[in-house]
């Protein structure tokens, strides 16, 4: 198992990837994490989270095949959820 923030190249290997995801206000009531688990072959482990009435974020780990995690990330973005590296901004 490898463990890193984002995949560099899609390979058919099992991996664990870490992300910081943010929910716009209108997405907070939606069971987005549940949906992702159903729609894609990924297992989600939530490590820290702060979800409130008007804002929400989670630090999560997705386990699965790299390509499938990438599809899940694209799926999250399509749902309007913002997905960043666990380090947030690394460009200074």
């Amino acid at each position: 198992m490898r463990c890193r923030s984002f995949p560099l190249l899609p390979v058919a290997a099992m991996t664990k990837l870490r992300f910081h995801i943010r929910f716009p206000e209108e997405k907070i009531p939606e069971p987005v994490i549940y949906q992702i688990g159903h729609e894609y072959q990924v297992v989600t482990s939530i490590r820290r989270a702060d979800v409130r009435e008007t804002t929400g974020w989670m630090d999560v780990e997705f386990s699965g095949e790299t390509a499938e995690i990438e599809r899940a990330i694209a799926g999250l973005r399509n749902k309007g959820v913002l997905v960043d590296p666990i380090e947030l901004n690394v460009v200074e």
Partner: protein
């Protein structure tokens, strides 16, 4: 016992060995260096500091390296200028400018953090330095890597100004322009940092890198005659600098160099990228990421890694936060140049603009010892002021024309 005890998670407190780690495996919180202050207290005195090198390495006991410094030997110990003219203009008796415009070798405060990061990176066996940057950090990493004989990769957005690209190329790193928007650059650099065994200074070396900022607190205390200022004004990008100045002040208290710390730590941002200052003013303990749009590009971090901790620091110290417009940034740059002869980059304009606001609001008072941190040199961001500084007088080579223009007394 080692002076560095461990890396410790800022969220859950789990400890890790002092390796190239930056995220807690348990809760994904950021890691920072935990020290053995009792041992440091024994090893360090005011006299030993004063007898040390004229650089930030005079505080090496409080920096995260195991041996001696090997990279960036001349960084730090920049002037603390008693800004009497600007102070008089603002109605402050004891205003000081911490002038990192003249930091060595690349004229910004980044030389501090990079000196520490690459010294530690070499201790950890790294041969390649890397960073993702829009300016000052890239310059500093490229220069220090050249001096250290390290391979160097600098990742920049594809639309960076030519002058800034040149400022990297001269040191001959591998400069990689990435096509795509800011988020694409950010994401790719995070990916690469996870893949390569490189010292990515602000990613896997970040716990060590960030510690270099503490020296801006240490030096000010020493330069003020071993006393802490009443107020500091600090520009915020990731928010790390502000938190580390506070950490540095409190470390001096821990080792007995200061009896007490009652410094108010104030944060400064540009309105076009002010997630932290906006959250503070709204009374929130969380920030909302933004898309930056400001001339202060060195502060344009819309999703700041240390934003939460910066908010916590300002609250803990009793400080405030403000944001200024692009026009106020330019006015701030001009005001500092025209009163103190210091040409700061746009981040300096943010600091001075915010200082002006905090004085006007009565947050900073006449008799308080106040330090404004100027973190970069104006020669790097000339495009920001090129249209607001006027033009030279143009005359033929004739004494008559000169006197017609300036009069007999030489006044225009």
């Amino acid at each position: 016992m080692e002076k560095m005890k461990a890396l410790i998670c800022r969220e859950c407190g789990k400890e890790y060995p002092t390796e190239a780690l930056h995220v807690c495996e348990l809760c994904f919180g950021p890691l920072e260096v935990k020290y053995n202050y009792e041992e440091i207290k024994e090893a360090m005195s005011r006299a030993s500091v004063e007898a040390g090198p004229k650089s930030l390495w005079r505080y090496k006991e409080l920096l995260p390296i195991e041996g001696g410094p090997t990279v960036g030997l001349h960084a730090g110990m920049t002037p603390l200028v008693h800004a009497k003219n600007l102070g008089s203009f603002l109605g402050l008796d004891e205003l000081y400018i911490k002038n990192d415009c003249v930091n060595q070798p690349t004229l910004s405060f980044k030389d501090r953090v990079v000196a520490v990061a690459l010294t530690r990176a070499r201790e950890l066996g790294y041969e390649t330095a890397a960073c993702a940057s829009t300016g000052n950090l890239a310059n500093s990493v490229a220069a220090h890597a050249a001096q250290a004989g390290m391979q160097c990769y600098v990742f920049i957005p594809g639309d960076l100004e030519a002058a800034k690209v040149l400022g990297n190329l001269i040191y001959r790193p591998k400069v990689v322009e990435i096509e795509g928007n800011y988020d694409d650059v950010n994401r790719l650099c995070s990916e690469i940092a996870g893949e390569r065994r490189w010292a990515f200074v602000n990613v896997n070396i970040r716990p060590y890198y960030a510690e270099g900022s503490k020296t801006l607190a240490f030096e000010v205390v020493e330069q003020l005659g071993w006393r802490a200022p009443d107020q500091v004004v600090v520009p915020m990008a990731s928010g790390s600098l502000l938190t580390k100045i506070w950490k540095g002040l409190n470390e001096f208290k821990k080792i007995g160099f200061l009896k007490d710390v009652s410094t108010k730590v104030n944060g400064a941002q540009a309105e076009g990228c002010s997630p932290i200052a906006t959250a503070f003013k709204d009374g929130r303990d969380f920030f909302k990421p933004v898309k930056p749009s400001t001339i202060a590009k060195s502060l344009a971090i819309g999703n700041p890694a240390d934003g939460y901790y910066a908010l916590k620091t300002a609250a803990e110290s009793g400080g405030a936060m403000e944001a200024v417009t692009d026009d106020e940034i330019i006015e701030g740059i001009k005001l500092l140049a025209q009163t103190e002869g210091i040409f700061a980059e746009t981040a300096g304009g943010v600091t001075i603009g915010t200082l002006c606001k905090l004085v006007k609001q009565g947050v900073i008072k006449k008799n308080e010892v106040t330090v404004a941190y100027i973190t970069g040199n104006g020669l790097k961001t000339q495009e920001a002021v090129v249209d607001s500084v006027g033009r030279p007088y143009r005359i033929p080579p004739s004494l008559v024309k000169f006197e017609e223009t300036f009069g007999q007394q030489g006044a225009a």
